[in-house]
């Protein structure tokens, strides 16, 4: 299964539920396009829910970083929610875990944007 995205609005925060694999090819480009689209629509508060992400490769990590940079440079914030153990481990060994603002509870994550 490739990646599937579902975007919902919680107050002024756009929550993107991501499911599947974020790997080179369709998976990473789908995420890239979605984040660019949101930035172009001036959405400044983006929460990526990665709870259903089964797999991520270096290209997928690159897209998370690239998305983070794009959103930050546009004056917005991109945060991560519900990392699986695999994704958390990967972000830790690549030293990116502390770069991202990572949350385990959606309500807490939403409040942190205020």
């Amino acid at each position: 299964m490739s990646v599937k995205l579902n975007t919902r609005q919680v107050g002024d925060v756009s929550v993107v539920d991501v499911a599947g694999r974020i790997t080179l090819g369709e998976g990473s480009s789908t995420l890239r396009d979605a984040l660019r689209d949101m930035v172009s629509k001036n959405q400044k508060k983006i929460l990526l829910n990665l709870g259903e992400v089964s797999y991520i490769d270096s290209s997928g990590i690159g897209e998370l970083v690239s998305g983070f940079t794009t959103v930050t440079n546009s004056g917005g914030q991109l945060k991560l929610l519900n990392l699986t153990k695999r994704v958390k481990d990967l972000l830790q060994i690549t030293k990116l875990y502390t770069v991202f603002d990572v949350h385990e509870e959606e309500a807490h994550a939403i409040r942190s944007f205020a």
Binding site: S59, G62, V65
Partner: protein, 146 residues
């Protein structure tokens, strides 16, 4: 039967097209051999990811999706080592001077983590320049503990 296959030597060799479909194919083959060799879930995941990264490197950066170029891929398991070789026909790169993806100035780069992940997930990673062209990645997991 399972115990017997764990101790048997196994070799698989393929010439793969320079496409992203080959990445899935290579991962499936390598993880299959590793499973029969008795590696557990965590190692299977690491082997799968390292193999994916190496074949992506060969297809994308080495052969640049060129349909006339192949990726030579092999998995060899014996009593000592589980070895995956991935060779492309590209121009090669300077693997001795790669930027450190963990350096603060590189943390926010969108690429450059593939070789680091291969090294992190395997017991050994060797990179060779091939003649007349291409690079070969040799990824090794030791069998000793299994």
């Amino acid at each position: 039967m399972q115990e017997q296959s764990r101790h048997e030597a196994e070799t698989v060799e393929r010439f793969l097209d320079s496409t992203l479909a080959s990445v899935d194919n290579a991962e499936e083959i390598a993880v299959g051999v590793a499973q029969r060799a008795g590696f557990e879930e965590d190692d299977l995941l690491k082997i799968g990811m390292a193999v994916r990264e190496s074949v992506v490197n060969a297809v994308v950066h080495g052969n640049r999706y060129n349909a006339n170029k192949k990726v030579r891929f092999s998995v060899v398991k014996n009593s000592q080592r589980f070895t995956v070789r991935v060779a492309d026909e590209g121009d090669g790169f300077d693997f001795e001077h790669l930027p450190d993806p963990l350096a603060p100035e590189n943390l926010l780069r969108s690429s450059g983590r593939g070789i680091f992940l291969m090294r992190s997930f395997m017991d050994e990673l060797q990179i060779h320049r091939l003649e007349p062209a291409g690079m070969e990645f040799v990824l090794v997991k030791y069998m000793a503990a299994r």
